[in-house]
């Protein structure tokens, strides 16, 4: 059974341009471009794409925060346009961004306030808040104002807020964005093991971290420039790449491209990472290393399997960390 059915959903935004005498130029930006997708009951479904791909806009339409221009979606049988109240009752949502809670209030006060908006009785709210603060390991600091919390602790409160009313379906928008590895690991495990496997919640998760999508999601949809590119399991997506090996070289030096190879080059802060997909990397290894050595100092050489990012680049020609205007 499908819990989320998105049918031909489209959302445009109007971008204001330069003012010309009396009129301002306007341009339509297609943030979500006729997307159709189905998420099964109990599935952990990932929307993977670079910043500005339209993931958050799609989530906000599903959460009834935005009204789509065309198409619609149903959440557990309730239409997001004609029956938004029923949709809101069964949805839990975390929106991206750090400031989604009252920093001047404690974790407990924040949760109590949102519990009242979702109609929890005082007794049920207290019990549920106790339980959530306990599993999130926040009980000790529950009365401290959030302004004194770390980013990771605030994100835990944010997730606790989303699941306060025990929703059937969760929309998690970049839940681990900006968190340090230990908090990310905790939240990923909590999302996968507790919320999805134990409690059976249907989860739609947006991320631009390919590892996160790979590790957590039953199926993944690639989104780029508002369009849905492909939907499949991580395993099947990787099979799409005909080349079954990836040669990865880390080096120090200024390399923009390799003349004779189709290389994916990322210039990071302290090093440059070069990835080349090939059927058999041994065949090209010597030539590639010779070319790189002439221009840079090699730090490491690895042969790996293609990643989701390789698949994304293969299918879209864009990098995951690209920012589209």
């Amino acid at each position: 059974m499908d819990n989320i059915i998105v049918s031909d959903l489209t959302k445009k935004f109007v971008k204001k341009g330069k003012r010309k005498l009396l009129r301002r130029e306007k341009e339509d930006i297609l943030a979500v471009d006729h997307i159709s997708v189905k998420v099964k009951k109990g599935e952990l479904f990932g929307l993977l794409g670079p910043n500005g791909a339209g993931k958050t806009t799609l989530v906000k339409c599903l959460a009834t925060l935005l009204i789509p221009d065309e198409g619609t979606a149903t959440i557990d049988g309730h239409d997001i346009i004609t029956d938004p109240i029923s949709v809101r009752k069964i949805l839990g949502i975390t929106t991206g961004g750090e400031r989604t809670l009252y920093w001047k209030l404690s974790a407990r006060d924040n949760l109590k306030y949102f519990a009242s908006l979702y109609g929890l009785s005082s007794k049920d709210a207290e019990e549920r808040i106790d339980y959530l603060l306990d599993i999130m390991d926040l009980k000790e600091k529950q009365h401290q104002r959030l302004e004194k919390y770390s980013t990771g602790m605030r994100q835990k409160v944010s997730i606790a807020r989303a699941i306060l009313h025990d929703p059937k379906i969760l929309l998690l928008d970049e839940p681990t964005l900006g968190l340090d590895p230990s908090f990310s690991m905790f939240l990923r495990s909590f999302i996968k093991n507790d919320l999805n496997k134990k409690e059976g919640k249907t989860i739609l998760l947006t991320t631009h971290y390919m590892d996160e999508a790979d590790q957590l999601c039953d199926r993944i949809a690639f989104v780029d420039r508002g369009k849905l590119i492909v939907v499949d399991t991580s395993k099947n997506l990787k099979r799409n790449v005909s080349k079954n090996e990836a040669l990865e070289i880390k080096c120090i030096g200024n390399i923009d491209k390799l003349e004779n190879f189709n290389a994916h080059i990322k210039n990071k802060k302290n090093y440059t990472k070069i990835r080349i997909l090939h059927e058999n990397t041994e065949d090209i290894m010597d030539d590639v290393l010779k070319d790189v050595k002439e221009r840079a100092k090699i730090l490491s050489v690895n042969v790996t399997r293609p990643t989701l990012e390789d698949v994304f680049v293969h299918l879209t020609g864009s990098k995951l960390e690209d920012e589209h205007e």
Partner: protein, 275 residues
């Protein structure tokens, strides 16, 4: 269940707003003292102009020779105007700034109890401020408040607040759209100063008097000053009360209509998500 649900939302909203307000103690001090300090220069100015605390010319326009209590009553009632205008629209602006507005609008509850909670919180805090101000006026300026005047004055203050909250709900909606509230509120605040008898009798100029007829504060001030300074009763002033009530109904209906119209528009344009 539904009305209990709505009541719990109103109560949660009031508690939340009060807890956040208490994080800023200077704000409390400012609102308790500043409106009175604001009125003092006008009292001294009047004193300097007429050479005493009573004026016959002032009496011709207002029916009372004492301009000091006249101005102090204007200052105290104006606190309600300021806190209603600033409170509600600023409150939604802050929700937007904190990133919580989306979550509130995305919750399944009706938004009316949330707005009511914000309005009642303003009423509670404004009344606290007004009580403090009256206390200061009694101590420093010897303002005379009889016990039997308190009940009718409270009734008029409630009627004044109803209209002001209608107006501020509309402003809250406009704030969602334009993403800033100060210039709009300052404009309305100064229109109120100019066109209602906060500082001076509006019948000093026929044009100002005409415009003052659509401002609820005009009627509230007329009734409260009538009770406190001219020993009139609510029955003597019933016409003002009826007009105030009619303006309240108009402003509340208009306020809710504007708020929900703009909220729907904002969901379409995506402006809710912007800071």
């Amino acid at each position: 269940m539904n009305s209990f649900y709505n009541l719990s939302i109103i109560s949660a909203e009031i508690k939340k707003c009060l807890k956040i307000l208490l994080c800023y103690p200077m704000e409390l001090v400012f609102w308790c003292i500043f409106p009175i300090f604001w009125a003092v220069p006008f009292i001294f100015q009047g004193n300097a102009l007429v050479g005493g605390m009573e004026s016959e010319a002032f009496s011709d326009l207002t029916g009372t020779t004492q301009f000091m209590p006249y101005i102090l009553i204007g200052a105290v009632l104006n606190t309600y105007v300021l806190s209603a205008l600033y409170g509600m629209s600023n409150s939604l602006r802050e929700e937007s700034y904190w990133g919580t507005l989306e979550l509130i609008l995305g919750s399944p509850c009706s938004k009316i109890p949330i707005l009511l909670g914000k309005a009642l919180n303003e009423a509670v805090t404004s009344t606290l401020f007004a009580v403090m101000q009256i206390f200061i006026c009694i101590i420093i300026f010897g303002l005379d408040v009889a016990v039997n005047q308190i009940l009718p004055i409270m009734l008029i203050v409630i009627l004044l607040m109803l209209g002001l909250y209608g107006l501020s709900i509309a402003l809250a909606g406009i704030t969602i759209q334009i993403k800033q509230s100060h210039s709009l509120i300052h404009t309305i605040e100064y229109l109120f100063y100019l066109f209602s008898p906060v500082r001076y009798p509006v019948n000093i100029n026929p044009w100002i008097r005409m415009v003052s007829l659509v401002i609820p504060l005009t009627y509230a001030l007329t009734v409260v000053r009538g009770i406190m300074l001219l020993d009139k009763s609510l029955i003597n002033l019933w016409q003002n009360v009826v007009i105030l009530l009619a303006i309240d109904i108009g402003l509340i209906v208009l306020g809710y209509y504007i708020f929900f119209y703009i909220e729907k528009r904002a969901r379409k344009s995506g402006i809710i998500s912007m800071y």
